[in-house]
């Protein structure tokens, strides 16, 4: 399986006041195309920082991050943003949908940014994603008119609609009840299986983590367990 994500000796140190906080202390990881990886660990173990570095939202202190062959490490902010546009889809704990836009509007916006104004997502792909996530009848609704589970499904659709190289999911069930959590996790699984979508999900919930095909455990900024 070819690696779509490769991390080598990744460190990240924050300066908080006069104190250096070592959020990542040398992380090595390789994720193959089509893998569904969960990263688990207690609060403060560095998993959110790792996800932000993988998504190009943060620049690491040292080490290398390669997404689909592109080295994010020495890139400028603008270049990392461009990689994010082309290759990464995000799913957040708080859904992070645009409240003023309908589900359709949220998806169209992601498509617009991805395609830089040009329509590059064909209607068939769109239909397939919406059907998979059972959103066909929800497209005119605004986020506040939908349940948490529905909102997260729209967020999933937004992340996957542009067929990114990798989806980074940050506690996607953290704001959902158990019923909706199960639905969302099943859909992540389905996206992984049916669209061969690579997914890296961070969670502190062992049950959610167990849905992934590979489980990684982090503690104090390093990977302590990897069943892959």
């Amino acid at each position: 399986m070819s690696a779509i994500l490769k991390i080598e000796n990744l460190t990240m140190t924050y300066r908080v006041g006069k104190v250096d906080v070592h959020a990542l202390r040398g992380v090595n990881l390789s994720v193959g195309r089509g893998e569904f990886v969960s990263i688990m660990g207690p609060s403060g173990c560095g998993k959110s920082t790792l996800l932000h570095v993988l998504g190009g939202l943060l620049k690491p202190t040292s080490g290398r991050v390669l997404i689909d062959g592109e080295d994010l490490t020495n890139m400028s902010d603008a270049d990392r943003t461009d990689v994010r546009r082309r290759k990464i889809g995000f799913v957040f704990q708080r859904f992070n949908l645009f409240p003023t836009l309908s589900a359709e509007g949220n998806l169209r916006l992601a498509e617009h940014i991805h395609g830089q104004g040009k329509k590059i997502i064909d209607d068939e792909t769109r239909r397939e994603v919406l059907k998979l996530l059972r959103l066909e009848n929800k497209m005119r609704h605004k986020p506040l008119e939908m349940s948490g589970g529905e909102q997260q499904r729209v967020a999933l659709a937004r992340a996957v609609i542009n067929r990114p190289a990798i989806i980074l999911a940050d506690e996607p069930t953290g704001n959902l009840d158990s019923e909706n959590s199960e639905v969302v996790l099943n859909m992540l699984k389905q996206l992984n299986r049916e669209l061969n979508q690579t997914i890296v999900m961070i969670t502190h919930n062992p049950e959610a983590a167990a849905v992934a095909s590979r489980m990684i455990e982090m503690r104090d900024g390093i990977i302590v367990k990897d069943n892959g």
């Binding site: 932000h52 998504g55 939202l57 943060l58 603008a78 943003t81 461009d82 990689v83 994010r84 546009r85 082309r86 990464i88 995000f90 957040f92 992070n96 949908l97 645009f98 409240p99 003023t100 836009l101 509007g105 169209r108 916006l109 992601a110 617009h112 940014i113 991805h114 104004g117 937004r158």
Partner: protein
């Protein structure tokens, strides 16, 4: 992106309304002020030209250009002027300036010698008759129409009621005219006038006649009527500076309103900026979203401002003696000020938004 802009404008109606009102105010300021300046100047120029005389003669401090009621020129200058070679006819005019009927602007009353004045200007009574006593005036057709006056209507002159005896045409000089002798009596200025209209034998020789008058009666003001256009601009002190100040103020108002509105909006939408960044939106994309939103708001403001200015202009012309003249160059200037002011005002908040840390923005509560 378009629907993001449209939805933001719709979803924040108070912010949108305040911004639109701010831009509209700037546009209103420019359109109304320039319209007033232009309208008043051109109206006076048109009417001054309508008097038919090529030259106007007056003393310093009693200028035909200034809105004052000073009558310091002796009417007997008329006899001396008549004797100058090239002068065909003369007519003394006394000018009295009073506050406009609604308290806004001012209104002029000319005291004339009807016979010589009408001989020079072609003034004729189109309805009613000439004033017959000291309590009667004649008015032009515009004044009759605008103030809804007819024969026998009462009109305030010198703070007292006078009757409209007749309506005259064409428009020339002040819109209200009365007998010069009666005006002199009211102002206790016997044998005085404000200026003397001079009709020359050959209009092509007006400059030669002007020089001749200057040589024979030095120390007075001898103006060609055609130069009065530029003369009015100069006679109202600081008019250009005033117009420029209005333009600068309007631009600043537009900029500040949009800057404050967009700055507040950006703060409110910090999280949304973070989402855009997580979707891979570039800095230029984020700046363009905010700029486009500001330009759409500014455009609505410009249209509202124009409509308000036209409406206010109509009301001002109806209710006062002030005249407005809207010219496309000033309408365009006002529109550009509104749009550019809005775009410039949004630039700082837009750049600030684009440079936000995406992780902090995403965790913004």
């Amino acid at each position: 992106m378009d629907s993001l802009i449209a939805s933001n404008i719709r979803q924040r109606p108070t912010r949108t309304l305040i911004s639109v009102a701010g831009i509209a105010l700037g546009v209103l300021l420019v359109v109304l002020n320039t319209g007033l300046v232009r309208g008043m100047l051109n109206d006076r120029i048109k009417r001054e030209r309508g008097i038919g005389a090529e030259i106007q003669f007056t003393r310093k401090g009693s200028s035909v250009l200034s809105p004052s009621s000073v009558m310091s020129l002796d009417v007997r200058y008329g006899d001396r002027l008549s004797q100058i070679q090239g002068v065909k006819m003369v007519s003394p005019v006394g000018r009295y300036v009073q506050t406009g009927r609604s308290g806004l602007g001012f209104e002029q009353v000319d005291g004339i010698d009807f016979e010589s004045y009408s001989a020079i200007s072609g003034l004729r009574i189109v309805e009613g008759r000439i004033y017959g006593n000291e309590n009667e005036v004649i008015i032009d057709e515009f004044k009759a129409r605008q103030s809804n006056l007819g024969i026998g209507s009462e009109i305030q002159v010198f703070g007292r009621k006078m009757k409209v005896a007749g309506i005259y045409a064409p428009e020339s000089g002040a819109r209200i005219k009365m007998n010069l002798t009666d005006l002199q009596n009211f102002l206790t200025a016997e044998n005085k006038c404000t200026f003397i209209m001079i009709k020359v034998d050959d209009p092509n020789q007006e400059q030669t006649v002007q020089k001749r008058i200057n040589n024979e009666l030095p120390g007075n003001i001898v103006l060609l009527t055609r130069d009065i256009a530029t003369g009015f601009g100069r006679a109202i002190p600081g008019i250009d500076t005033f117009v420029r100040a209005v333009l600068v103020l309007s631009t600043i108002v537009s900029m500040l309103v949009i800057l404050l509105a967009m700055y507040t909006t950006i703060t409110e939408r910090t999280r949304e900026i973070g989402i855009l960044k997580s979707l891979g939106a570039s800095n230029s994309y984020i700046i363009s979203v905010i700029e486009k939103e500001a330009i759409v708001i500014s455009l609505i403001g410009v249209i509202t401002g124009m409509a308000a200015a036209l409406l206010a202009g109509w009301g001002i012309e109806k209710g006062t003696t002030l005249q407005l003249e809207f010219h496309w160059t000033w309408l365009l200037t006002a529109a550009l000020i509104g749009l550019c002011g809005g775009a410039l005002g949004a630039l700082y908040p837009a750049i600030r938004a684009a440079n936000q840390d995406p992780v902090k923005a995403l965790s913004y509560e």
